[in-house]
């Protein structure tokens, strides 16, 4: 049976013809799909094999059990027959002896000769007898007949086994124990009461072996007999009987003996009086043979050890009269041979049945799975995109209906797929356009983002620059304000003093001091103006070709006198050949002048050297001094506005702190690079690289500012101040002298100091304690006016000593203001006029210090 895949044309499918190949799925093809077929095969074969194996195992188990039962039954019958045969053997002998013993021997006609003849007849009848004796009651032999020895008649010989003669009318028969003769042959005696004595017959037990030899126990089986002591007395093989083997502890004998001991009814008396015992049931059912009413005749022993040492199946049978035991044994392999053969045949049948079941199961499973596999393969083709796959199943059952449904489903799927493809194409094109537009927008957004990022970065940079410039400007204004207030303060004081002393004889000296303050203000305002112009971009370079030699000559003329005045060596290295620089001569000269001014200011000894050296396309101009040097961490700070290092010589000539700022700004306008090299304790070299080319020129202007004056002093104030001792502390000598003069003019006694140390020292130099302290806030060496006031008060032990604090700082730190209030020290911002100063001084003297 085949399961073809129909061509779509046959079904009238609208699918593409090239996508609908004709494919037939036959059973062998479906066989390559082994999943479900294998499962079916495993299931069918497993069930069949399980049933076969189970039934086979059960059958084999029953067969084995039946075989064992059969063997036991057979052996029981054999043992029973053997035991019966032996018992019959002994019974026959006993009866024959009884037949001899019954005659009245000794009467007339029954003398010794007749008795001898009768004994010969007895032995003729019983071949097993070797000797027959007629014994008198006193134990003396009357007649002896033998097969080996010469007969004796009337000899009177004493019988060697008198116990045998303990027979009587009540106990007419007695069996002796078995014994072995000189030639090792086993024998026993039977004594029968004859009325006045006994007839004793000696039995050669080797004939029992012959009887047992006729008992067929299979090909390799045998039967053997042990006596009541367990000695082997009969065996089919004559040599075994001659060994006098003691088998009392041998497994089958011991087991049988234990069974006998467990049966007390098996009395010895019956064993010894077999002839008088009730007849033993000779033929009984196998089921009854084992144990019945405490008496057993046949006992199946099952698996045990054979006399030859191998594994045997044995059965024991008791021979009651002599107390013997017959054991029938058969090799286990032989006994179970038929059963094992049956088992082997059963196994072969199971194996054969299993193979048939396997083949049938595989065939059946593949046949069952074929249509399903066909469906699965067709579904797989559809899943892979081949919608033309259809199938034809002609099983005539539900599977065939399933195939038809599948084909209808495939056709519907093809139709849906066709419409879906068109829709997908349209949607795909729309999505492609949208995607392109999105990509374009995304590119534009990216560009805008980049621009915005750049602008943000530039804005942040400019903001940072603006913040830095604003901070610098604030710092500049604060510093400039402070520095401007100092000379203004001096001028204010001096002008007030000048009004009071206009009639005095030394107006020229006073005017000189005022002139000095004004000069300082002029220089300061000049520098500030230069910086302002430079920062505002009002200074435009005037590029010219400048002769370096002329420039250096002018510097030499300008600064040589000052160097000589300071006692410094002054050297200017002028070029040997003409050097033309492309720069603004005025700005360059300003740069060099600032550098030389600083060099002279900070050099105490040694000298200042000005020179130049070629550096490629530029000329490096250098100004070197032998000043204290600048530590590396200050190399950038020295170019900041109002940065002033400690001057080397006179403290009054410490500069404005604007020179290097002007140098940096001017060099920046000219595009000249400025470099500073310095070693602390050795000196400093500042260099300017000037290009060797033409440059334009630059011009500039300077401005000045107006003064101010104080009002007239009241008389009450003058009275308060007159005679007051005032200690003035200020690190600015000009201010210090102006304050002292103003206070002296008001009638005060004045002591001066430039620092807190000097103030404390001044206390020791005067006998009188000061009535008022007037201190500048900022003192040299890092000290403050508050420190000085505190130390003086502490020195005088007068915490409320009146004091005034003057400062030029307009942006006081909150901590400083708070400390002044705590110390009850009024603080006044410079410049303060003479009138106000005196009013405040008088006020402090009149009111004392406020309590904190």
């Amino acid at each position: 049976m085949t399961f073809p895949l129909d061509s779509p044309s046959a079904l009238g499918s609208p699918a593409r013809p090239e996508a609908l190949p004709e494919v037939e799925v036959t059973a062998p093809l479906a066989g390559r799909e082994r999943g479900i077929a294998r499962r079916y095969a495993f299931l069918v074969c497993g069930i069949a094999l399980f049933l076969l194996a189970t039934s086979g195992a059960i059958e084999m188990g029953f067969e084995y059990r039946e075989a064992r039962l059969g063997i036991e039954a057979l052996q029981s019958a054999q043992a029973d027959a053997g035991a019966s045969q032996i018992a019959s053997f002994l019974d026959t002998i006993e009866l024959d002896v009884r037949d001899v013993a019954k005659l009245p021997w000794g009467r007339a006609g029954l003398g010794d000769r007749a008795l001898r003849a009768e004994c010969h007849r007895l032995m003729q009848l019983v071949p097993a007898l070797t000797d027959v004796q007629a014994v008198q009651a006193d134990g003396r032999e009357r007649v002896f007949v033998s097969r080996r020895e010469v007969d004796r008649v009337g000899g009177g010989r004493v019988v060697p086994a008198p116990d045998l003669l303990a027979v009587s009318a009540a106990r007419p028969v007695r069996y002796s124990d078995t014994f072995f003769r000189e030639d090792l042959t086993p024998a026993m005696r039977i004594a029968v009461w004859n009325g006045e004595g006994a007839i004793v017959a000696t039995v050669d037990l080797r004939l029992l072996g012959e009887a047992l030899g006729r008992l067929r126990v299979g090909a390799g089986g045998s039967a053997w007999v042990v006596d009541r002591r367990g000695t082997l007395i009969a065996h089919p093989r004559a040599t075994e009987m001659l060994r006098e083997l003691d088998l009392a502890a041998f497994d089958p004998v011991a087991r049988a003996r234990r069974a006998a001991e467990a049966m007390p009814q098996a009395s010895d008396a019956r064993m010894l009086t077999l002839g008088r015992d009730p007849p033993v049931p000779r033929r009984r059912g196998i089921d009854e043979t084992a144990i019945r009413s405490g008496e057993w005749r046949v006992l199946p022993l099952g698996d045990t050890v054979g006399l030859e040492g191998g594994e045997v199946i044995a059965t024991a049978a008791s021979i009651d009269a002599p107390g013997w035991l017959l054991v029938v044994q058969q090799p286990r392999s032989e006994a179970l041979g038929p059963a094992l053969a049956t088992l082997r045949r059963t196994l072969l049948l199971i194996a054969g049945g299993g193979l048939v079941a396997l083949a049938t199961g595989v065939w059946f499973a593949r046949r069952m799975a074929a249509p399903i596999v066909t469906l699965r393969r067709a579904a797989h083709r559809i899943a892979e995109g081949d919608l033309g796959a259809t199938i034809l199943i002609d099983t005539g059952d539900e599977v065939e209906a399933l195939g038809r449904d599948f084909n209808r489903m495939a056709a519907r799927l093809r139709e849906s797929y066709s419409g879906l493809e068109a829709k997908i194409a349209v949607r795909t094109a729309e999505l492609s356009e949208a995607r392109d537009a999105l990509q374009t927008r995304a590119a534009e957004v990216d560009a805008l983002n980049e621009q915005l990022q750049e602008q943000v970065q530039e804005l942040a940079l400019r903001k940072d620059q603006a913040e830095r410039a604003n901070a610098a400007k604030s710092r500049f204004l604060a510093t400039a304000s402070h520095d401007l207030r100092q000379p203004m303060h001096s001028i204010s004081l001096l002008i007030g003093l000048l009004r009071e002393r206009v009639a005095l004889a030394d107006p020229a000296g006073l005017a000189g001091m005022i002139q000095s303050s004004v000069d300082t203000m002029e220089r300061l305002f000049g520098s500030l103006l230069d910086i302002s112009r430079l920062d505002a971009g009002a200074v435009q370079p005037r590029w010219q070709e400048v002769d370096l030699d002329v420039l250096l000559e002018r510097l030499d003329r300008t600064w040589a006198p000052q160097a000589q005045a300071r006692g410094l060596r002054w050297v200017v290295h002028r070029p040997a050949h003409p050097v033309r620089l492309h720069t603004d001569p005025d700005l360059l000269e300003r740069i060099l002048s600032n550098l030389v001014s600083n060099a002279l200011r900070y050099s105490v000894r040694g000298g200042v050297v000005v020179g130049s050296r070629p550096r490629g396309r530029v000329r490096r101009l250098e100004v070197a001094d032998t000043g204290p040097g600048i530590s590396p961490d200050l190399h950038d700070a020295v170019f900041e506005e109002f940065f002033r290092a400690a001057p080397a010589g006179d403290a009054a000539d410490k500069g404005l702190g604007l020179g290097l700022s002007i140098v940096r700004r001017s060099a920046a306008i000219l595009g000249h690079s400025v470099a500073l090299r310095s070693l602390v304790g050795r000196g400093t070299v500042v260099s300017v690289d000037v290009p060797l080319s033409d440059t334009p020129t630059l011009n500039g202007t300077r401005d000045t500012e107006p003064d101010e004056a104080d009002a007239a002093m009241p008389a009450q104030v003058s009275a308060t101040l007159t005679g007051a001792f005032v200690l003035v502390v200020d690190d600015d000598d000009m201010n210090l002298r102006a304050l002292a003069d103003v206070l002296r003019g008001a009638g005060c006694l004045v002591a001066t100091a430039t620092s807190a140390d000097q103030a404390v020292a001044a206390l020791d130099a005067h006998l009188r304690a000061p009535d008022l302290l007037i201190c500048d806030l900022q003192l040299d060496g890092g000290g403050t006016g508050l420190d000085a006031i505190s130390r003086v008060r502490k020195r005088l032990d007068d915490p409320v000593l009146p004091a005034l604090l003057l400062t030029a700082q307009v942006d006081l730190e909150p901590a400083t203001a708070s400390a002044a209030r705590d110390m009850a020290v009024p603080m006044h911002i410079k410049p303060i006029g003479v009138r106000r100063l005196l009013l405040e001084a008088a006020k402090s003297l009149g009111t004392g210090a406020a309590q904190p």
Partner: protein, 331 residues
């Protein structure tokens, strides 16, 4: 397209042949096992020895399975004297037999002397202990076993002779020297005859000529009866003895039933019919690996009184009481 055979394809036939040879070698007992040799020390030339033929018949009948893997052969020996027996035994031992079978006392002694280490199965009419073949009739150390046909029935035979012919007083005994030496014939016969009131004369003859000489002597005819025990003297001239007894009308009792079957008057002996089958059994057991020393010496347990009652005996019938005791009557 033709493709050259690979090495595996070329070697495949050789592989099958090799497998066949290996299987054949493993399944062949002849290639892997030694075939034991059992040598029978006969008393006549090969092929004619009735004893060997009897043994071989019993051997093949009772132990055909063992016979297929054991070579039972007769050694070329002629029992015509001790020296020749010894020589024959040495020649047989030179063939390195696995087992020797000696059917007589002489051959057994010769075999025991020539090959004390070779297992021996024997049958002898003399006591094997007396011959030195075994130290005991039970389990023992010697590597020999067998059948002892030695009997002590001389007195019994004299008793039967006396019961059969109560008038007999003088009995002539004919045997060979070996018999007499082995059992001390004079003493044995004296103890056998004196209780019965009889006298005897012992004639010892070795070989047929000596037996004929004894029978031809005038003295031979003076005895009331003759007794011929089992010895070489009775075997080599049994026909002449039977003829003379018939001619003389003199009763005679023999030591074996064979003489009665051959024409003699009567005999009382052990039944030796079991000898050849038992010898075959013993050979099979030893060949199968059972130590000979573990096998006790077998003795006959049947006794046969055979009497010929026909006129050809030339003597009157024995007493009826004896006839009634007879196991075998030949008319």
């Amino acid at each position: 397209m033709h493709r050259a055979p690979t090495i595996g394809q070329k070697a495949r036939p050789f592989g099958w042949v090799l497998c066949f040879l290996v299987i054949a070698a493993l399944s062949s007992d002849h290639l892997s096992e030694h075939q034991p040799l059992v040598l029978f020390l006969g008393s006549s030339a090969q092929g004619d020895d009735p004893a060997f033929l009897s043994l071989r018949r019993a051997w093949l009948r009772r132990h055909a399975d063992v016979a297929s893997r054991v070579r039972l052969e007769q050694a070329n020996a002629v029992d015509d004297g001790r020296a020749s027996l010894q020589q024959s035994a040495r020649a047989a031992v030179a063939r390195q037999p696995d087992l020797l079978v000696a059917p007589s006392a002489g051959s057994a002694q010769a075999a025991a002397r020539a090959a004390p280490g070779t297992p021996l199965v024997f049958s002898t009419y003399l006591d094997p202990k007396g011959l030195g073949l075994v130290g005991s009739l039970g389990v023992r150390a010697e590597r020999s076993t067998g059948i002892s046909l030695a009997d002590d029935l001389h007195g019994k035979r004299m008793e039967i002779l006396h019961d059969a012919y109560p008038a007999v007083r003088n009995v002539a005994v004919l045997a060979d020297h070996e018999w007499s030496d082995a059992i001390d014939g004079e003493d044995v016969m004296r103890r056998a005859t004196e209780p019965l009131g009889m006298s005897f004369h012992l004639f010892l003859a070795d070989g047929r000529d000596e037996v004929l000489g004894v029978l031809a002597s005038a003295e031979a005819r003076r005895y009331d009866a003759w007794y011929v025990p089992r010895s070489l003297a009775g075997v080599v001239a049994w026909d002449e003895i039977v003829r003379r007894m018939r001619d003389w009308h003199t009763p005679c009792i023999y030591g074996s039933t064979e003489e009665v079957l051959a024409g003699g008057q009567m005999a009382y002996s052990q039944d030796t019919a079991f000898v050849w089958s038992t010898l075959a059994d013993l050979v099979a057991r030893v060949v199968d690996g059972e130590p000979p020393g573990r096998i006790p010496i077998l003795r006959p347990h049947h006794f046969v009184l055979a009497i010929r009652t026909g006129d050809e005996t030339g003597v009157p019938l024995p007493d009826p009481s004896v006839l009634r005791r007879a196991d075998l009557l030949l008319r």
